[in-house]
């Protein structure tokens, strides 16, 4: 299509009157054309007022309930990214998808565990346990404010934080997780950042409690000394 002609598609796009090919082409153009974005916003507003002119017909009584029921069924799988970082929604269709997303970062995490913890249990076992919690059907999963990822909590209150794209803490510092019920924060684990970080929380996460992450001096502290960078609430 000629460069200028594509601007002329705006009214038809506002009315959904383009064929799929034209539509795709226009949407590609729209992403970087401020003139068309502004014009489209105005035309869509006028265009959608045509909806009001449709003769009123009674809505089927069951429709409302059916929409809400479906929305409820989907809710457990919809985990929004915090608005500050991204406005896209992270839709995790199934528990398997969660496990897959977590697995992407596992190599890195396993390496961290081996270096830092030298735990009596193998890193592999801990990863497997954490993954099992994240992916279990009864697990509650909530999004985070301040960072990408999720908090997964098993019915018995075992919590796992999964964080992605978290920068390494400044030197001499560590990330520390907290479980806050009422006004008392309990330490829930130390960790570093990375592509994907899986943090099995060392403190139980009761319903209604807040899980927060702060940056603290290396070795951790008994009470948080900083404002949390990441928070979420289990409700």
């Amino acid at each position: 299509m000629e460069p200028e002609a594509i601007h002329d598609l705006t009214p038809a796009y506002a009315l959904d009157a383009l064929d799929p090919h034209e539509c795709a082409e226009f949407e590609k153009h729209l992403r970087h054309c401020e003139r068309c974005q502004a014009e489209l916003a105005e035309l869509q507003e006028v265009g959608s007022s045509l909806a009001y002119a449709a003769p009123a017909v009674a809505t089927p009584p069951a429709l409302r309930g059916s929409i809400l029921e479906q929305a409820r069924a989907e809710r457990a799988n919809v985990i929004p990214f915090p608005a500050r970082r991204s406005r896209t929604t992270w839709v995790l269709g199934t528990a398997a998808a969660v496990a897959a997303a977590v697995a992407i970062g596992l190599g890195i995490w396993t390496a961290l565990l081996n270096n830092d913890l030298g735990a009596e249990r193998s890193a592999h076992d801990r990863v497997a346990d954490a993954l099992a919690i994240v992916a279990a059907p009864g697990t509650q999963r909530v999004g985070l404010t301040g960072g990408k990822g999720l908090l997964a909590v098993s019915p018995s209150g075992q919590g796992v934080l999964v964080l992605s794209d978290l920068a390494q803490p400044p030197s001499g510092r560590t990330y520390q997780a907290w479980v806050i019920q009422g006004k008392t924060p309990k330490p829930a684990g130390l960790f570093r950042g990375g592509n994907t970080t899986v943090v099995p929380l060392t403190t139980r996460v009761p319903q209604g409690s807040i899980v927060a992450v702060t940056v603290e001096p290396k070795g951790g502290v008994a009470k948080p000394t900083r404002t949390p960078i990441i928070t979420t609430r289990l409700s």
Binding site: A17, L43, S49, L50, P55
Partner: protein, 197 residues
């Protein structure tokens, strides 16, 4: 929580946090308009229900994609409803050009009497504005918006060059905006104490 006093935009923000009651409130505000539009386009109850259900669930899933600086929430929602109905009308080959006369006006199935009166007023205003458009502009808008025809199909059907159809759609929308702009559509709709006159 009481949501009736919240703006449409605030409700969308609540959807982002997974609050179903905000979705219920949005449905109570726009379900009737959405369904009437879908029924007008599809002329079939089951298909209209499908379109409305899919549209509201799209809103539910994609609330985070709503950009309040770019559009009103009602415009965003009705655009999604329209797109779903267009998809269905094209897929089902249900496009018609003959005038639409519904068998029965809704006995306002939900919402208060004040809401119903307000909706009727909006409908009459837009219908009136449509009537005042030049015939060929109204025809282009109605066939595209309610009929689900593409601009190329319209050019062929009306025996006009594509450029003519494009300018009729543009001129029609621009004129419609003028006709509607003396009184703001939708403004203050959900303020219970607000007079609608």
């Amino acid at each position: 929580m009481h949501l009736t006093h919240l703006s449409d935009e605030a409700l969308i923000a609540l959807l982002e946090r997974g609050q179903e009651d905000a979705l219920a409130e949005l449905y109570d505000r726009y379900g009737q308009i959405a369904y009437s539009l879908a029924y007008r386009m599809l002329r079939n109850e089951t298909l209209a229900e499908d379109a409305v259900q899919e549209a509201f669930l799209t809103v539910w899933r994609n609330a985070a994609r709503f950009v309040p600086e770019r559009a009103k929430a009602s415009t965003w929602l009705l655009t999604i409803v329209h797109r779903r109905a267009v998809d269905l009308v094209r897929r089902e080959e249900r496009r018609r050009t003959e005038p639409f006369t519904p068998s029965a006006e809704a006995a306002s199935s939900e919402g208060s009497a004040a809401d119903a009166a307000w909706l009727r007023l909006q409908r009459e205003r837009v219908q009136d504005a449509l009537r005042r458009l030049p015939d060929e502009q109204r025809e282009a808008l109605e066939l595209a918006y309610y009929g689900g025809f593409t601009q190329s199909e319209l050019a062929e059907r009306l025996g006009q060059p594509l450029g003519t159809i494009k300018s009729r759609m543009f001129a029609g929308l621009a004129r419609l905006r003028e006709l509607l702009s003396d009184v703001q559509i939708e403004e203050e709709r959900w303020s219970p104490k607000q007079s609608t006159t």
